[in-house]
């Protein structure tokens, strides 16, 4: 029987390997199932599967899984069978080699602290010798620490030190000792001096010190899958969708004004639906129409016209195409309804708290609901009231008898380029009866 792909990326257990060996040996006429436990011959039946298990379980299994995005992992990812240390592995290699897409790694939090010499004597600070600490505790109960880093423009004193006179202050760069967001610090949180050799120094940070965790594996896989869209030479719909949110190098698109990453999460391309030769890209975020700064970023990247900090832009639009980038048009949908729940299932929550659970669930549904809705015909579709009833009912186990009175019909129409925006107040639009 041919092996399925599921067989191939499922680790055989030691007992399965042993059973296979026993079956084969028994078919050869060996009474292996009757052998006395502990005898040398019987022990071989244990040793061999164990050896094979190690080979199959680590090397071979990973080799097969490493060919597929959904199966490949890097060390430190959930489900990775090797080790917990975060580093590049099969997933990163697959993404780099096949999809030309790098997985964003961890970054140390860095920042600048202001050091004030409260001693009566001059202090000579050397890079790498000053250790400071965040004043707030981390999730593991420890306090993140930071160490001063080299900077030739600062450490210009005797022996490559920073000469700090009494009562004087200086700004010096520091880097977290633990990589990732673990050591992130808001302004004025790095205020504790750890190094004791400099006497009385006051420290603080005016600006946040921010690091980054490694890119989430699922986010990275999705970026890999979308990567081919950036190679297309003929401006297909997928390239517009890609360029609305993603830079040429596969990283999230930045706003031209330098205020961060564009927050566009929903894109709809009117790909000559309205008229041959014209393309309009409609953009929205989780709350509704995309912000102006986000539209500016998407427009620059799609048209290929640099704007602000966006100097390396994709450029998707062919010269003869009539093109526009537009915020999606908000279609505000008021959702009003009732629900019931038994006291035992309410878990002590108040009616308002339960109503808020419902509106939160609806908000989450709207957050990802596509521009133009479902069952689209030429870009126009529907939002089904029945789906909203289901979302509300599933918001908490025990909810029953859901009724939505508004919208009144079975569906609400969404025109081409329209994004549904939720209007549902937990205190006035919902009534949960605890029975």
């Amino acid at each position: 029987m041919a092996l399925t792909i599921s067989d191939l990326w499922t680790r055989l257990t030691k007992s399965e390997l042993k059973e296979s060996l026993l079956d084969i040996a028994q078919a050869s006429g060996l009474p292996v199932r009757d052998w006395v436990v502990g005898q040398p011959s019987e022990r071989w039946l244990e040793v061999i599967p164990r050896v094979l298990d190690q080979v199959l379980g680590t090397v071979i299994l990973q080799a097969v899984q490493g060919f597929f995005l959904d199966q490949a992992t890097d060390p430190g990812d959930p489900g990775d069978p090797t080790q917990t240390e975060i580093k590049a592995g099969w997933l990163s290699e697959l993404g780099r080699q096949w999809f030309s897409t790098e997985r964003r790694g961890q970054i140390f939090a860095t920042g600048t602290i202001t050091v004030t010499n409260n001693n009566a004597t001059t202090q000579y600070l050397a890079p790498g010798e000053l250790v400071v600490q965040r004043s707030t505790v981390a999730d593991d109960g420890a306090y993140p620490t930071y160490t001063s880093t080299a900077d030739d423009t600062i450490y210009t004193g005797p022996g490559g030190t920073l000469e700090l006179l009494p009562a004087a202050s200086a700004d010096i760069p520091v880097q977290a000792d633990v990589i990732g967001t673990y050591s992130n610090a808001s302004s004025a949180q790095i205020t504790v001096l750890v190094t004791g050799t400099y006497g009385s120094l006051a420290v603080t940070n005016a600006a946040p010190a921010l690091g980054e965790d490694r890119e989430d594996a699922e986010d990275y896989r999705e970026r890999c899958r979308r990567a081919p869209a950036r190679t297309a030479s003929g401006a297909p719909t997928a390239s517009y969708e890609y360029a609305a949110t993603t830079a040429l190098d596969g990283t999230p698109l930045q706003r031209p004004d330098g205020t961060g990453v564009v927050s566009i999460t929903k894109v709809f391309v009117d790909d000559a639906i309205t008229e041959a030769g014209s393309v309009t890209v409609y953009c929205a975020d989780g709350d509704g129409a995309a912000l102006a700064a986000d539209i500016d970023g998407a427009h620059a990247n799609i048209t290929g016209i640099p704007d602000g900090v966006l100097t390396e832009v994709m450029g998707v639009v062919p010269g003869s195409v009539d093109y526009a980038t537009e915020p999606a048009v908000e279609n505000t949908i008021n959702v009003v309804g009732t629900m019931k729940i038994k006291t035992a299932d309410a878990g002590g929550l108040t009616a308002l708290e339960l109503q808020t659970i419902i509106t939160d669930a609806l908000a989450e549904y709207f957050r990802t609901f596509p521009i133009g809705g479902l069952d689209q015909l030429s870009g126009a579709g529907k939002l089904y009231t029945g789906d909203l009833v289901g979302i509300a009912k599933d918001a908490r186990p025990g909810f029953y008898a859901p009724v939505i009175t508004t919208p009144a019909g079975s569906s609400t129409n969404l025109a081409l380029g329209e994004v549904a925006e939720l209007d549902s107040d937990p205190s006035t639009d919902w009534v949960v009866t605890i029975t």
Partner: protein
């Protein structure tokens, strides 16, 4: 294709010292060797899984997901393997006439011959027609005919738009010679009378039709409208270098704008308009976008 590698059942016996080959010993060694053979097969299968050309069929959907290459219900396995293998090239040419033809041609890999494909578009003034051809052997030709020999419908409103909408409407022509479409595909009745009372077009299964249409549309440029997918039964029809001529029944060999090929029957003369040896697998004017 794969190297069968060593037969561990034989090898392990050969490698073992003589005293281990006695009585139960040899059977035990053989059992271990057979287990190793099974595991070697497993490793080989795993290695093959990485390649769409060599893997089992159940692996193809996983490659499809990773490579964002849709698979189609009626698509032969050979085509699925081919398109998944050429995924980077297909994505690279996506949105172009060349890309559309590269995307569709493998669909016929299980046929005696690959069809010749053409994509034709006209600029909006009808000044020029641009023809792309992909031959069965994979060679590609491009021809620009000026003045245009492809004026589908004298679309006046488009021509008035400032700047024009150059190359924004395209037609895909699939030559059916050598494929199952040649014999199974119904034509416009007997080719001389437009409607003899039976179904005008019923030759190809609905799902196959839907799959072919989607394959074309998915690979078009965003600004481009596909106005027709034409099954050409006459290999000599739709010659990129030809000049249109009229048939006795009133139809023309290539669209001249009058009669408009937007309609199968001229609305004023009630005569056929389109090349009668061809069938429209998809007609935007009647099927919608």
């Amino acid at each position: 294709m794969a190297d069968p590698g060593p037969d561990f059942r034989d090898a392990i016996v050969e490698w073992a010292p003589w005293y281990m080959r006695q009585a139960w010993g040899i059977r035990m060694l053989e059992a271990v060797g057979m287990l190793l053979n099974a595991l070697a097969d497993r490793v080989d299968e795993g290695r093959r899984a990485a390649s769409p050309r060599l893997c089992q069929e159940d692996v193809l959907p996983y490659h499809s997901r990773d490579r964002t290459i849709e698979l189609y219900t009626t698509e032969p396995i050979a085509s699925r393997r081919e398109r998944l293998s050429n995924w980077w090239s297909l994505h690279r040419h996506r949105g172009t006439a060349l890309g559309i033809m590269e995307h569709v041609q493998p669909y016929f890999l299980d046929q005696p011959a690959l069809p010749r494909l053409r994509v034709v578009s006209q600029d909006q003034g009808g000044f020029r027609a641009q023809w792309w051809t992909r031959n069965p052997d994979g060679t590609v030709e491009r021809h620009v005919e000026a003045p245009s020999n492809w004026n589908y419908d004298s679309s006046a409103e488009k021509a008035t738009i400032p700047g024009g909408r150059h190359w924004a409407r395209a037609w895909v022509i699939i030559y059916t010679e050598g494929t199952y479409l040649d014999s199974s595909c119904a034509r416009y009745d007997d080719g001389t009378v437009y409607d003899d009372g039976s179904t005008v077009y019923d030759g190809i299964a609905a799902q196959a039709r839907a799959d072919l249409i989607r394959m074309v549309k998915l690979w078009r440029a965003a600004h481009e409208q596909i106005w027709g997918i034409i099954l050409a039964h006459n290999p000599a029809s739709f010659d990129p270098t030809a000049t249109a001529f009229s048939y006795p029944d009133g139809s023309t060999s290539l669209p001249t704008g009058s009669p408009s090929w937007l309609y199968t029957i001229d609305q004023s003369t009630n005569l056929a308009t389109r090349e009668q040896t061809a069938v429209w697998l998809y007609d935007r004017a009647t099927d919608g976008a």
